[in-house]
Assembly symmetry: C2
Homo-oligomer: 408 residues x 2
């Protein structure tokens, strides 16, 4: 048998991948599992957009241009304008989801062995994209104790070397829900400019910023036109993860050209996805306002419930629909498996993502989990009931005393 590649054996798996068989087994046994482990929302895709899309005449589903349909790119400029971002259609390249956007960026910006600085915990698939492009991720560790605020600029600076090509952040962050305000971006801007780096920002959760905080896009950083590259997607905004339509935005025209070269190889992003994405931009404000309100309520529930659980450390995330929580346990891998395998609360349990998979540094996040607010408030309360009860009865629970965890 011809052998598969050695690199294929090293592809990183998702943080909850090992748990899937246990979840399947639990369901087989009749247990109800609340899935707070994935970023697949339960929100309706805009029904008006689906209706409008279905009314369009479709004769030949042809390739779109490699950079996306002109009409969609044009319409997107108005969406960005409504969000205070002025870009031209030529500065937008449509991608097959943000996932492809990040892959295209990796090839267009990095040569093998180049480095990128990423605050950890970070979206776990960045590991895979980096591995494919032979890019080294240089993690800078954030701490749950201050809601995963970015470390100091000096800490970033200490990681920069001749191989460093850029800094990559997600704002607001998946997996932590941390919101980075304008001041933070201005600080990063100075550093990026000084060391001639790219500043990559994944802004797919742009709409979901809470507590009256105003989102500031990196595209509005003055003097950084050649440095800033934004990754975007309709997946979370419109609960349309399956359409696989994202975008890369940059004002760096030589970078646009390079990305386009790679984009041409795969011919075109999905045509039907682009059509419906275009329809979703019609009267999007009301829909987005309602969805934001919904996520805000869910956030409050999770935060309030976690804050009442003894020994649990968490924070109120400023954006997106995720948070991290630190439990009085030794291994969240073990705890999450136990939740599925050995625990139930009135026949129900909850599935969470163990934290370690979101860190590149070994040994980090072992007692942390990521929680995604992708279920409605009723289900979320029930999931929190399960979690609360589980933490009471988990046999491996550590005793917390004066904020020091130790095994009883």
């Amino acid at each position: 048998m011809p052998s598969i590649s050695k690199r294929a054996e090293r592809v990183p798996l998702s943080p909850f991948r090992k748990l899937v068989p246990y979840a399947d087994e639990a369901k087989k046994k009749g247990k109800k599992v609340y899935h707070l482990n994935i970023g697949q929302p339960d929100i309706l895709t805009p029904p008006n957009a689906i209706k409008a899309f279905k009314e369009e005449s479709i004769k030949i589903i042809a390739y779109s241009p490699a950079v996306g349909n002109a009409s969609y790119r044009e319409k997107l400029t108005h969406y960005y304008e409504r969000n205070g971002i002025i870009v031209s259609p030529e500065e937008i390249i449509i991608t097959t989801g943000a996932s492809e956007g990040i892959q295209l960026l990796c090839f267009a910006c990095f040569d093998p062995g180049d480095e990128v600085i990423i605050p950890e915990p970070f979206y776990a698939n960045y590991n895979g994209f980096a591995q494919i492009a032979d890019v080294n991720i240089c993690p800078i560790t954030c701490s749950i104790e201050n809601g995963f605020a970015l470390p100091s600029i000096e800490d970033f600076e200490s990681l920069i070397n001749e191989k460093t090509k850029g800094i990559f952040i997600t704002n607001p962050s998946n997996p932590t829900g941390t919101f980075y305000p304008k001041e933070v971006l201005l600080e990063l801007a100075v550093l990026v400019k000084e060391y001639n780096l790219f500043l990559f920002i994944d802004e797919v959760y742009r709409e979901f910023c809470f507590d009256g905080q105003e989102f500031f896009s990196a595209l509005n950083l003055k003097g950084l036109e050649d440095h800033v590259v934004v990754v975007d997607s309709v997946s979370k905004r419109f609960s349309a993860c399956g359409v696989r339509v994202g975008a890369i935005l940059t004002r760096n025209h030589s970078l646009l050209e390079s990305i386009t070269r790679y984009a041409k190889l795969r011919l075109s992003p999905p045509a039907l996805g682009q059509m419906i994405s275009e329809a979703m931009l019609e009267n999007d404000e009301e829909y987005l306002e309602i969805v934001k309100e919904e996520y805000d309520q869910r956030r409050s529930i999770v935060y309030n419930r976690l804050s009442k659980m003894p020994g649990v450390i968490s924070y109120k995330p400023g954006g997106a629909f995720y948070c991290f929580a630190k439990f009085p346990i030794k291994s969240s891998d073990h705890f999450c498996q136990w939740l599925l395998e050995s625990f139930d609360h009135n026949g129900e349990t909850v599935m969470l993502s163990p934290g370690a998979g979101f860190y590149a540094s070994p040994g980090k996040g072992l007692d942390e989990v990521r929680i995604a607010f992708v279920l409605n408030v009723d289900k979320l309360e029930k999931a929190m009931d399960c979690l609360e009860e589980a933490l009471k009865v988990y046999p491996e629970r550590l005793v917390v005393k004066e904020e020091v965890f130790y095994k009883p």
Copy 2:
């Protein structure tokens, strides 16, 4: 300004890429351009499938499984069964077009520096996919004089070394339309088995085999279950290039697992594309019969017209909807540009793909072009009128004497 990657500067461009501005300019001047340079058919996507798709209830366009929807994979097994191929749903991974399928294969099967043998001329984007994965293409040259039949097994064998991981062919071929019958595949099978190689076959033009020739899928090669990997796509079959839905088929289960790891990184193939692809499999036989008949007519027109043009060497392709032609010219790059820039026949001209871009060996295909039969018979006749006239008046035409070309 931070610099783009060095590898981005080396991404190969499409064979007709340089001609696009000349085509645009010609159209601006009011010239009608017949596009025979691209593989985008003018055939309707099955109208019944579009109708059925629009009638489906869509509430949340969620991620599909990374390997594709279970219902679509299941339905595909029946499509393959109708084509004499028995596969299980687990042996099918749905990809974002064949393009992504080939990229996934490159990562799952090859380590950097590994080699693949590909008969040339070949689909030009293979160069880009190979570059991304750092795979070396080892071309084996075929000749227009025998309709690009495969070279002898000994010729293949002479290219095999310790870096060789597989042989990749497209059957029927894009760009040559060459059909490889069962006997040829059986010969390759022996070689592949002897040297423990993968046999990759792109079978996206499976339905379009002419002159009563029966298509033989590599998946039916006995004893080669761990070696054969088939790439497929709905793009050409159903004239649905924009849906971006393809597939990888193999019975090698460790390879399936490796590909799945890579597939998970990009989360899911397009959901809407999969829905309509599933609908297209309902009563597909009649549609495919009509489309095949249409391409057969077009093939006859192109062949008949080319065979009457003095000094032109071509052949009747056994499959797909392409052929190559060799003209009494020095440079098809120059000729194709001249067609757009300096020639017209009653205000019309034709755009073709220069041949050299389909070869990896330098200096090959300089006097050849690829012709795609993607326009209806009326337009195709007019395009052939243009070509015939152009070859008469092209100032750089070589004089052909006793099958030797020389400059007058």
